[in-house]
Symmetry: C2
Subunit: 157 residues, 2 copies
Amino acid sequence: MPNEAKNFITSDELLAHWQGHRKLTRRLIEAYPEDKLFTHSIGGMRTFGALALEIVTMGAPMVRGAVNGDWTTSNSREARPKAEILKMWDEATEQINDLWAQLPAGRFDETIKAFGLYEGKTSDLIMYVIDNEIHHRGQGYVYLRSLGIEPPPFFDR
Amino acid sequence: MPNEAKNFITSDELLAHWQGHRKLTRRLIEAYPEDKLFTHSIGGMRTFGALALEIVTMGAPMVRGAVNGDWTTSNSREARPKAEILKMWDEATEQINDLWAQLPAGRFDETIKAFGLYEGKTSDLIMYVIDNEIHHRGQGYVYLRSLGIEPPPFFDR
């Protein structure tokens, strides 16, 4: 029996999936040498520190905007201590959990304009944030390997 | 109103999302220089050719196994022409669409043992295949940049 319009994953499962990915990204930030975080780069790409800041300033702000239309976030990618990024990370973890519970029923199917710029279905925009994290974290894996450091295993969440 | 057990994404939406990612990965394979596909590497990692073969031999075989328990796939990562990989890719695109329509209702919530090795909920295993593709494609972006080639934009599916 075909399954058009069948549910693939519930809201709670998606949150757990995302937080699993976020745990792995946090582990990668922890494993990254402090002195390379905002200096090491390959092929003219952004540093992993800048990518980590992009990730952490997209996640909770995306869910907050989806909840209440407040699209405030930070665009600063300035170098800062690893401990400060990890603190931002852990605060975002709690914020995402709290905000997720406040998402009104039906919101995932509604079209919103994220950060006043990106129009799309709420579920697509949230998926984009998760995919963007996986994408840039994968790049962090290459950076770490190029520094001779073994990254945490991808399958371990 | 909280939304526990609320649907996040439907089966059809997830398939479209995946095929969008697969289009982008195909574009990356196309952009990759033929003579570097199975030779270029950073930090002792696998070549992008080997990663592309892993991706293409996981996708359709995962859905086929979820449909009928046939876990046949190819583990060969031997060098081959780019055109051959793209042919495998396009065949897999059709297979995934065909097999997706055959997934029995309720299968996403059932526990299966993928490739006789990886036990999990069908939806989690399918998400893993997609995440693995995004992860390794992100690494392909770094490889391409390190070769001085601009990859296709991440947001374009």
